[in-house]
Symmetry: C3
Subunit: 345 residues, 3 copies
């Protein structure tokens, strides 16, 4: 029976330089703002205030969700992100759409999967580019027995190791006031190498993660179908990003909002019942202008281990060598996110 | 103790031709739109876009919920719907209210219950009729020992077997653009008799179904009270309608939105923990004008059985004969909905 | 390791007459309205209608949540409220902020905790005071071995036993119309001493209570961290207030909205899995003007006991004497709220 219902692309379906417009464009409203707060508890002032500025992570999830139908339905693993940049403000009422381009293809030697590199560009209703990024994903092959030309001749694009601080878009309209944050922690207080604990934890449950994922119209079925997943629907990786980021407000109180992600890795699955915690290492500090500085931060989200409960949280090793001498993430770590945060000076 | 708190109508409380205004009128906002998306994942373009058009099923649930205080509190079973028609657009900020009329009464021979036929009319703040429909419900009698006059002399109104395609209200403002749907599946591609699989599944949980039901101020206690229901609150029948419909976007990508329901039956209870799936049979196709056609569709929602996982999904029998030769719904089927969908040509 | 992440005030950190501005001011939107309805099912007409008036309890939770970072992170128990007054209308788009002042301090003889009395004042973006109240909280001491001066010389402010009916703010714009409530129950129908059953029950679950608590940016970790709480996150006391109040619409259909709380006590913890019910005793009736009267009500919320299921609900004892002759709340009671409700005449 030929099927009208879309079952997603397999590795063989992608072409190099293929461009795809993604459904469904989405208008972001104050309803999305409230739902996001109810699902994360985020209290970064400007995104709870009267200006209508939309939280950068709401923008990210909304446009990321639009790529799922093409990229994620037959994905085996979300391998990485690079060069995630927010490029223009998004406000209540803006409509966001995503266009993607396939920029790299490599079949894996197993014959079962291949890696697809995707360039992503999100624009608003005026055609302004609001976000761009790359991601790469391991995708199932339809036919494991027939190699593609990407086995012998892979095309692997070079991904930027980081976004340069000078390329960060700074929106001076989202600098919080002293009355809003009631915090004296400013850009100049942060030093390279310090570790910031956030002293919070959230236990995840089926309803919260599914509502979050549906809000952003991410319809990858592994997140929703308990029968398909042995009773353990996989939590969308955006959930620990957003909840970790919400918790990270404590200690980054004068932040303006995430401006770029240099790299990110989902290092272990997260399921309902897990309790997640976060801490942040300061990797770099770069003054941008007289009002705003950029902090390069490494946010680590853990599951079922509260870093603040350790005798010496500063000694917690994010990664360690396995028996073969390769660096591996500690089993308690579920997210390792290297990003640029803007902070008022 | 005489009680101010309302305990609902029993069968004896209804009068033929009785007219009732239902509380509480409801203003539909962008908050309702976002909450609905978070609870269903629906991605039909126009109802996620900037125009402010409200999803027909949001309209339905909002006005249906208003009838619950009068009709559902002592209901034993929701027996059927007929002639559900959406008659005018509803947009963000509109306020909807429901007025109902009792048009049929029949006491059942058991003496325990009776059937009430209800005519429903929903209007907006300008007095425009936005929806009309009939439903009939089995309602407990207060006094099982005293027959009513509706036992010997029942009044059973004739319900329309279907809505005529020519009576469908077509809103040309909700035709999706190619950029929104990115789908070439147009009206002309559908053929009578085909079965469309939607390749999706959602596991339901207590919070999601209760939030959905509260959003629409449906306060029938069987949906909320686990003690009353042996730990198994009954999921409001609107939940499988909306989640099934959301899943049915896959394969009906250029739909404009449901325009009428000819008939609907909730054929088995749904509880938290069930995973629901949907498929759609095309019953009829009727071109309406040069832009829009109507598909008469039969959406079947199943629980704990993914039709796409069957060796031959096309052979799945929705109904079969029981030992007495009566047609019965397959035990896996929870909803059988015969409706008119509008699709761009 | 010195920490930028805030870990909350201990008893020793408070000073008499200390004034604190609380983060994060919050703009209340139609998204919050919809989320609140989805989480409570509240159907008080004016707060579901086109006027944009915000439910008094939404206002309360939004500004209460702002005090949590200073007051609640190391709280042992929420001891009481007094003089909670709503003083001006709040409408969609208003931004609310909270300022607090420490007005009493007493160290407990155990040396482990002290009591802090807090005066709370919430204002909108125009500087109009929208709410004021007092609460007192038992807060952990940082150092159990060193007494503070508040042990020998406590300062215990006198709290008002009640708000005078003549001081209630009456907003005539929120009087419901007959079409909205479709109820003939008016102020004159209520008599001192009567008990009103609400005939409803809701089983709470982890997702609902956490979403409610996050919506109002209350980040006290006992509400969210199942590991910290032995699998039993404590439900924020605002949840039974709001769900009890939502259920209490049945029997108080022509209410305008809560105008003041005289006193309130959370008398037992509530957890996911509990089913809550409510009834209301009428303590007093005071006509205010020709359109509106005030009812002094005592709302009792119970868990896992439906008062309507008792043979004689009117005989249910809220409190009884323990073996030492002290009045104690019945173990089934979780909330005892003495408040002023406005009702149309």
């Amino acid at each position: 029976m030929a099927q009208k219902g879309w079952q997603g692309n397999f590795f063989e379906d992608f072409e190099l330089n293929q461009e795809l417009a993604c459904p469904t464009p989405r208008t972001i409203t104050s309803g999305d703002v409230a739902t996001y707060i109810a699902l994360t508890g985020d209290r970064t002032p400007v995104y709870c205030g009267p200006s209508g500025h939309i939280h950068p992570l709401v923008v990210f999830h909304a446009v990321f969700g639009q790529t799922v139908r093409y990229i994620s339905l037959n994905a085996r693993a979300n391998l990485g992100y690079a060069g995630i940049r927010w490029r223009a403000p998004v406000k209540v009422g803006d409509t966001l759409k995503m266009d993607i381009k396939i920029v790299g293809l490599r079949e894996n030697s197993s014959g079962q999967t291949g890696i697809v590199w995707v360039e992503n560009k999100a624009t608003n209703q005026r055609g302004t580019v609001v976000m761009t990024f790359w991601r790469w994903v391991m995708i199932n092959k339809r036919n494991h027995d027939v190699p593609t030309r990407w086995l012998a001749n892979p095309v692997v694009p070079e991904m930027p190791a980081q976004v340069d601080a000078k390329d960060l878009f700074v929106n001076h309209d989202v600098i919080p006031s002293q009355r809003e944050t009631v915090s004296s922690l400013k850009f100049g207080d942060y030093v390279k190498g310090e570790r910031i604990l956030h002293f919070d934890g959230q236990t995840l449950n089926h309803s919260d993660h599914m509502s979050f994922t549906r809000l952003f119209q991410n319809s990858a079925k592994v997140h929703f179908d308990a029968k398909l997943t042995g009773g353990q629907p996989l939590i969308y990786g955006g959930v620990p990003i957003s909840i970790g980021y919400a918790m990270a407000h404590n200690g980054l109180n004068n932040r303006l909002g995430i401006a770029a992600i240099n790299a990110g890795a989902h290092t272990a699955p997260v399921h309902a019942g897990n309790t997640i915690y976060a801490f942040t290492d300061v990797l770099d500090t770069v003054a941008l202008d007289d009002k705003v500085g950029a902090l390069r931060l490494r946010m680590i989200v853990t599951k079922d281990l509260d870093p603040a409960s350790l005798e010496d949280p500063g000694a917690f090793q994010i990664q360690s060598k396995d028996v073969k001498g390769r660096m591996r993430h500690n089993k308690d770590v579920v997210l390792d996110l290297d990003y640029w945060e803007l902070v008022a000076r």
